[in-house]
C-alpha cells in the first residue's frame, strides 16, 4: 500500500487526460513527456488543484475517490511551481515560514535550520523582499518553503525550466542533495531528458494525456519501443561505482555490472556511487575488437534490439553483461555493411561519458 496509485480522467478543451499509474513511495519519479502531454495537469490533479474524476491514494491514504475529495490544503504535500511564486508582500523568512506556521507543531519534522542548511539559504533568509532575489535563489526559497510543511510527498513542476543554464547548474546539486536527505517520494515533471537522467530513479512516460510506460529509469530509458530512445539526446544511464583514480593521466575509472569505463577525473572518494550517462550518438560499434583506436572505452556486448529511425538511421540496443543496455545510433548503411543482426557480438566504442 505504501506507494502512489492514481487514475484520473479529465476533459478540457482540446485535451483529454486519461492517466493511470503506480509510483513507488521512495525516490524520484520523473513525469516525462513532450509539452502538452498532460504532465502538469496530472500533477495538479494529484495536488487537488485540478478537479478530475478518478482515484488517488498516497501511502495508503485516500486523497480522492468516488466519495472523497480532500481539499488541497488538507493534503500533506508540497508543490514547487514552475516559477517560484514567492509571496511578494512577505519577506524571505516569512515566505519560508508560511506553511511551517500552518501545520501542527507535532507534525513539524522538518525544521527551518535544516532547510536553510540543505538549500544554502543562510545568506538569503536575512534579505527582505523576495523580488530582489535571482531566479535560482527564488526557486531555492520556494523549495525550502514547500519542504517546511513536512510533506509526505513532494511535487515539482519543471522547477528548473524557468531558469537560465547557469542558475540551473547552481540549483541541481541542491536537488540531488535533497534526493538523498529526504525520505519522501518526489514526483518531478520535466521535459528535459538530461534532468531526468540526472535526478530520477523511476520514469513515467506521458504522451497525449496518457501514461504510456513506467518503470525503473535505467530500464525504461533503454527500451527501444518507447519514444525516449528516439529523441536526439537519447541516452543510457549506468549506475556505477568509482574504483580508481589515475593521477598521471587525470582519469577516473568506474565499474558497473558488465564492464568498466574511464572518464575525466572527478574528485570523489573511491567507492562512491556514481551515475553515468552515455548518449546514443556517442556510441559506435565494431564487429571486431578495434586496434589502434584513440577511444579508450570499448565494451563488448550482444545486439539485443534493432530499430529503424527514419530512412537513414538505426538505433541499436547493446546488452553489456547481464543487465546494462547501451544505446547506439548509427547509420543504416553501416548497419547493412556490418551485417548487424540480433544476437551478434559487437564492440561498443564509447566516445564520451558524462558523470551526473
Amino acid at each position: 500500500m505504501s506507494d502512489i496509485c492514481a487514475h484520473f480522467t479529465l476533459q478540457m478543451d482540446g485535451f483529454t487526460l486519461d492517466a493511470s499509474f503506480n509510483a513507488p513511495a521512495t525516490g524520484v519519479t520523473a513525469l516525462f513527456g513532450p509539452s502538452g502531454s498532460g504532465k502538469t495537469t496530472l500533477l495538479r490533479c494529484i495536488a487537488g488543484l485540478e478537479r478530475a474524476a478518478g482515484t488517488l491514494s498516497v501511502n495508503g491514504v485516500v486523497w480522492q475517490d468516488e466519495a472523497v475529495f480532500i481539499a488541497t490544503h488538507k493534503r500533506q504535500l508540497a508543490y514547487v511551481f514552475q516559477e517560484a511564486s514567492l509571496f511578494s508582500h512577505l519577506s524571505v523568512r516569512a515566505n519560508l515560514e508560511y506553511g511551517y506556521k500552518r501545520i501542527k507543531s507535532d507534525e513539524r519534522k522538518v525544521q527551518l535550520e535544516q532547510v536553510v542548511d540543505w538549500l544554502g539559504l543562510s545568506q538569503l533568509i536575512e534579505r527582505g523582499n523576495p523580488t530582489k532575489l535571482s531566479g535560482g535563489e527564488r526557486q531555492r526559497v520556494a523549495i525550502g518553503r514547500a519542504l517546511l510543511t513536512s510533506p509526505r510527498i513532494l511535487l515539482m513542476d519543471e522547477p528548473l525550466s524557468a531558469l537560465d543554464t547557469e542558475s540551473k547548474q547552481d540549483i541541481l546539486p541542491y536537488l540531488e542533495h535533497l534526493h538523498r536527505e529526504l525520505d519522501i517520494p518526489v514526483l518531478y515533471v520535466s521535459h528535459s531528458l538530461e534532468e531526468v537522467a540526472r535526478l530520477a530513479d523511476h520514469l513515467l512516460l506521458m504522451q497525449q494525456g496518457r501514461v504510456i510506460a513506467s518503470g525503473v529509469l535505467q530500464e525504461t530509458l533503454a527500451r527501444l519501443d518507447l519514444p525516449t530512445a528516439h529523441l536526439d539526446d537519447a541516452a543510457a544511464v549506468i549506475e556505477a561505482q568509482l574504483v580508481e583514480q589515475d593521477e598521471v593521466y587525470q582519469l577516473t575509472r568506474i565499474d558497473f555490472a558488465g564492464g568498466e569505463l574511464w572518464v575525466g577525473k572527478v574528485e570523489r572518494p573511491l567507492g562512491s556511487a556514481v551515475r553515468a550517462r552515455v548518449l546514443a550518438r556517442d556510441v559506435s560499434v565494431a564487429t571486431e575488437m578495434p586496434h589502434g583506436s584513440s577511444i579508450s572505452n570499448i565494451l563488448s556486448g550482444i545486439i539485443s534490439e534493432i530499430r529503424d529511425e527514419g530512412l537513414d538511421k538505426v538505433m541499436l540496443g547493446i546488452k553489456i553483461g547481464e543487465q546494462q543496455v547501451l544505446l547506439s545510433r548509427i547509420t543504416r548503411r553501416s548497419c547493412d555493411q556490418l551485417s548487424l543482426s540480433l544476437g551478434l557480438q559487437v564492440f561498443a566504442q564509447v566516445k564520451s561519458v558524462a558523470l551526473m
Binding site: L49, H73, L77, Y79, S85, F87, H89, Y98, R102
Partner: protein, 228 residues
Amino acid sequence: MPILDPSDLQAIWLTLKLASVTTILLLLIATPLAWWLAYSSKWYKSVVSALVALPLVLPPSVLGFYLLLLLGPHGWVGAMTQALHIGGLAFTFYGLVIGSVIFSLPFAVQPIQNAFESIGKRPLEVAATLRANIWDRFVSVALPLARPGFITAMILVFAHTVGEFGVVLMLGGNIPGETRVLSVAIYNHVEAVEYSAAHWLAGGMVLFSFIVLLALYLVGGKLWKVAR
C-alpha cells in the same frame, strides 16, 4: 460675518458622515462581489458585471427616481420597512446611504476586482499547497496583495459620495441635518443668490477633490497600474 453658517457646517458634517458610512458599507459589499467576479467562470458573470457598472452610465436622476419608488411608502422595500415599524426610508439619512451605496458600487467593485484579477490564481494555489484554507488564503494572500485596489476603491467611493447630487435630491430632498448634504447646500445658496457662501463651499469642494485626486496619483502611479 462668519464664513460658514451653522447649517453649512451641519451639511459638511452630514456629507462626511454619509461618505464614511458608504465607504465602509461598500468595502463589505464590494469585496466578496469583486472576488466572485474575478475568479468565477459562471456564464452569468457578464450579466452581474453589467448590472454593477450600470450606475456609471445612468443619469443619477434615473437611479434616484427608481430608488424613491422602491424605498417610498408604496415601494417594495418601503412597505417592508414600514411593516417592521422602521418607517419609510425615502427622505431619511438611511435612504441616502442606500442610494449612495448603489450609486458608487462600480467605483468600489472595479478597482478591487482588477486587483484580484492581476494577482491571478497562482499565489492562492501556492497558499493552498502550503496548508492555508480558503479564508486564510483570502486574508493572508489576497487582501495584502490587493491592497492598492482597496485604497483606490476607498478614495474613489469617498470622493464620489461627497460629490453626489442627483440621487440625493431625488431621494433625500433638502432636510437640514438629515439629508441636506454639501452639494444640496451649495444649490440652495445659489438659488438664494448667496454667491459668497456658495463660493466658500464650492471652492472647498474643488480643493478637496483636487487633493483627493492628487493623493491618488502621488501614492498611486503604482496603484493605478494595479487598479487597471
